[in-house]
Symmetry: C2
Subunit: 418 residues, 2 copies
C-alpha cells in the first residue's frame, strides 16, 4: 500500500509525503511517484499521531453510567457490579468503540489493561490500530487464583502472536495491593525471558503507599525494586505519590511513567503528579487518559492541555511543560516507551501520521502549531489518520462507525439490565 499526501504543511513548509507500507520514502516540494491512494493535504498540517499511555478501552461501555460518587461506592456498587457481568462479546464492542473514538482523536496506539484479553486483541486487529494489551492480573494473594492467572497469561502470550502487528501482549499486574509477590516474581522472570512490557498502576494514592509500608515495610517503588521488577520494560501509571527516593530508583532502573491527569482529578486521588521531580530526575513519561469511567473521553489532545496546565499551576511556574515539550511527550517519548521507533515525520522513519484541519477559528492566527494543538484545539481538528501504512480516517469518516456505535450502545444498555 502506497499513500501520497499532497501539499501538506510540515514544519513550516508545504510538502508532499510519500509513504510505502508505513515507511516515509520521500518528503519533497513535489513528489511524482504513483500511489495507491492520494490524499489532498491542502490547508492541513501533518504531525505524528498521539499515543495513549494508559487506558481500559472497553470501559467506554460505562461512560456516564456512574459519575460524581465517592470512590468506594462507585467501585463496589457500580463498576465492579457491571464488570462481573461482562462477556467476551461485550468487551469486543466496548474496545471497538474505544478504537473508533481514539482514531477520531488522532490516537493510533494505546496501552490497555482489561478483562477478556482476546476481545480487545480482536478489536484492535479489526480496527487496524496498535494495542499494547494486558489482561488484568489480580490474585488477591490467593495461590489458586495466582496459578489460574499465570496459566491464563501463558496462554495469552502464545495466542498473541496471531494478532500481530496490531496487538502486542503485555503484562498487567493491576497493583501491588492486588497481586502477590510470588506472582510479580513470576511476571518478572517471564517478562525478562520473552522481553515483555509490564503495565502497572503505581503510586496512585496515599492508600497504596500505606499498604506497601504495612505489608512490605517499603514504598511501592522500593518494594518493586527489591524483587527486581523495575527495568526499561516497566511502565508505572499514575505515580502521584512518588517521592525523591522513588524517583532515583526508577531512574536508576530505566523504568518509565505515565501521567494520567484527568482521572486523578475526577477520582480526587489527593496527590499531585510530581512533574518537577520526575522531570529533574529525567524519567521519561507520557500521558494516559485512563478508562471512560474515570475521564470520560479517550482524548490525548485534551489530556495534554490538562497535563501542561496542571504542571504550571502546581509548580507555580508558567514555563513548565511548554507546548512543544508536551506534544513531544505525547508522541516521541510515548513511542520510545512503547518501542515504536523514532516518531517523527522524516524520510526513512515510520511514525503513524495525523493530518490536522487548520481552517478553524481555534487555529487562527496559527502563530505556533504546537501551542494551537496543546492549548487551543480539540480533537475534532484531526481530519485524517494513517496507522501502520493504512488510512483509517479521511475527512473525519471512519468506515463502519455507525455500526460500531449502534452495537456498543446496545451492548451497554443490555449490560446494565442484565
Amino acid at each position: 500500500m502506497t499513500i501520497l499526501i499532497k501539499g501538506v504543511h510540515l514544519d513550516g513548509a508545504v510538502r508532499d509525503i510519500f509513504i510505502d507500507n508505513g515507511v516515509i520514502l520521500e518528503i519533497s516540494p513535489s513528489c511524482t511517484r504513483p500511489a495507491d491512494r492520494t490524499i489532498d493535504g491542502t490547508g492541513k498540517a501533518a504531525l505524528p499521531s498521539l499515543i495513549n499511555g494508559h487506558t481500559h478501552a472497553a470501559m467506554t461501555l460505562f461512560r456516564g453510567y456512574a459519575d460524581d460518587m465517592p470512590l468506594k461506592s462507585w467501585l463496589e456498587e457500580k463498576i465492579w457490579v457491571l464488570e462481573s457481568k461482562l462477556t467476551e462479546e461485550d468487551v469486543y464492542w466496548g474496545a471497538k468503540l474505544a478504537c473508533l473514538e481514539m482514531i477520531r482523536n488522532g490516537v493510533t496506539a494505546f496501552n490497555d489493561m482489561y478483562w477478556h484479553w482476546e476481545a480487545t486483541a480482536r478489536a484492535v486487529t479489526d480496527m487496524k490500530v496498535r494495542g499494547f494489551i494486558s489482561a488484568v492480573f489480580i490474585d488477591m494473594f490467593e495461590d489458586g487464583k495466582a496459578r489460574e492467572q499465570i496459566s491464563l497469561n501463558q496462554d495469552l502470550y502464545a495466542l498473541s502472536k496471531k494478532y500481530e502487528p496490531y496487538a502486542t501482549f503485555t503484562f498487567g499486574p493491576h497493583a501491588l495491593y492486588t497481586v502477590s509477590k510470588a506472582s510479580l516474581e513470576w511476571m518478572r522472570d517471564f517478562s525478562i525471558e520473552k522481553d515483555i512490557l509490564i503495565h502497572m498502576h503505581l503510586a496512585e494514592t496515599a492508600d497504596e503507599t500505606r499498604f506497601s509500608q504495612e505489608k512490605y515495610g517499603m514504598s511501592p517503588v522500593e518494594f518493586l525494586d527489591s524483587i527486581g521488577l523495575l527495568s526499561g520494560r516497566y511502565i508505572g501509571c499514575h505515580g502521584c505519590a512518588l517521592d525523591e527516593a522513588d524517583a532515583a530508583v526508577l531512574k536508576e532502573r530505566g523504568a518509565r511513567l505515565v501521567h494520567v491527569p484527568v482521572s486523578n482529578l475526577k477520582l480526587a486521588v489527593g496527590r499531585v503528579f510530581p512533574h518537577r521531580l520526575i522531570g529533574k530526575t529525567g524519567i521519561p513519561y507520557c500521558f494516559g487518559t485512563d478508562g471512560c469511567a474515570s475521564n470520560n473521553h479517550l482524548d490525548v489532545l485534551e489530556t495534554m492541555k490538562f497535563a501542561s496546565l496542571l504542571a504550571k499551576f502546581h509548580t507555580s511556574d508558567p514555563t513548565m511543560l511548554p507546548a512543544r515539550q508536551t506534544f513531544d511527550m505525547a508522541t516521541r517519548t510515548a513511542a520510545d516507551i512503547f518501542r515504536l521507533g523514532e516518531w517523527s515525520i522524516r524520510e526513512g522513519l515510520s511514525p503513524d501520521i495525523i493530518l490536522i484541519d487548520l481552517a478553524r477559528p481555534e487555529f487562527v492566527p496559527n502563530f505556533d502549531i504546537y501551542s494551537d494543538m496543546v492549548y487551543a484545539a480539540n480533537s475534532s481538528a484531526v481530519d485524517t489518520v494513517i496507522c501502520l501504512g493504512e488510512v483509517l480516517m479521511e475527512n473525519r469518516v471512519v468506515p463502519g462507525e455507525e455500526e460500531i456505535m449502534a452495537r456498543a450502545a446496545e451492548t451497554a444498555r443490555a449490560l446494565v439490565k442484565r
Copy 2:
C-alpha cells in the same frame, strides 16, 4: 422569524419545538405550525446555550503568540506591546473571530472587557450574539486619566443604545490595583443610576490582596464593600484569593462571581478557587474562559470539565460539582447573573438554544446527557445554534466564516510586524 425544530431529544423525550422571535411557543410530540425555517432535530439533543462569564474577546489575535512565559515578561514584553498598537479595526476582526469561535462552541452570550468598545459592539451586532461589553477602565490613580476614562465611559454608555439588543454596556474597572477609589465611586453612582453591571477582576492573586492590604488596610472585598461597590450588579472574576470573611460580605451584598479555571492554571496564579466556601455560602457563580492569550480557546464546554474536575480534586471530594450542577451553572446561573431570564427550554421562555449531535462515539452509550456534555464531549458536538430567535449555525456552518478567519489572521500577522 419563526423556527420549528422537528424530532429533537429534549429531557429524555422526542419533541418538536416551535420558536417565534426567540420565544418558545410550543413544545409537543408533533407541532403542525408553519415556520419560516425548519430544522431537522433527528439524532440531536436540545439544550440551553452556554454563557461565557469572563473574556477579552479580541485577544484571539494573540492566540499562540506568547505562551509558557513568566507572567511579568509575558505581559511587559509581549501582550502590552501588541495591545499598545491595536486599532479599532484590529479589535473588530479579533472580536468577530471570537464570536465565530464561541458560536461554534455553543456560546451565545459573553462578558467582555477590552479596548475599543465600539469595535466589539459592532462585532457582536454583525454576528448577532449577545455581548456584555465593558471598556477596560484603568486610570493608574492619575486624575487626568480618570477624567478621560469617565468621559469615555459616559459617551460609550450613550452610544451603546445603538447596538441593542446584541451589545449591552457594562462597566469594566480592571482591578483595584489599576483603578482609583474616586473612579470606582463614580462607577458605583453611575451604575446605580442607570442599573449597569460591573465586570471586574477580583482576588485573582495573592499580590492583589497584598496591594489592597497595603493601600487600604483591607482585603479587596472589604475595600470594595467599604465604598459601596458590591451589589447584585457586581460580577467579580477569578476570586481565587477569597476567604471566609470575603465570602460572607459578597453573599450579604448579593454579588456574583465568575470562576476562570483554565486561565488560573495557565498563568499559575498560585491560589485555588474556593469552591466549597463559595458553594456553602451560596454565592451564585458561573464560568469564564478568559482571553485567548491565557487559555487559548473560548470554549465553555471545556471550561466546565476543568471546573468540575478541579473542584473534586482540590476538595478531595469526587461528589463536588456533579455534571448536572456544572452544566446548570454555565447556563441557568450564568443567565441569571446576566439577567437573561430563565434559561431553560420550556414554553413561554426565551433561552438561546443549541442542538447537540449525539451520533458520535463520545455520546455512546449516552446514559446521561449532562455527564456526556461535561465529562466526555468537546465543543465540536454543537451542531446548531439559535440566538435571539435567529439560527446562527446549522450543521456546523456559520455563514461568512472563511472571510472572518482570513481577515483575523491577516490582522494578527500585520499587528506583530507593525
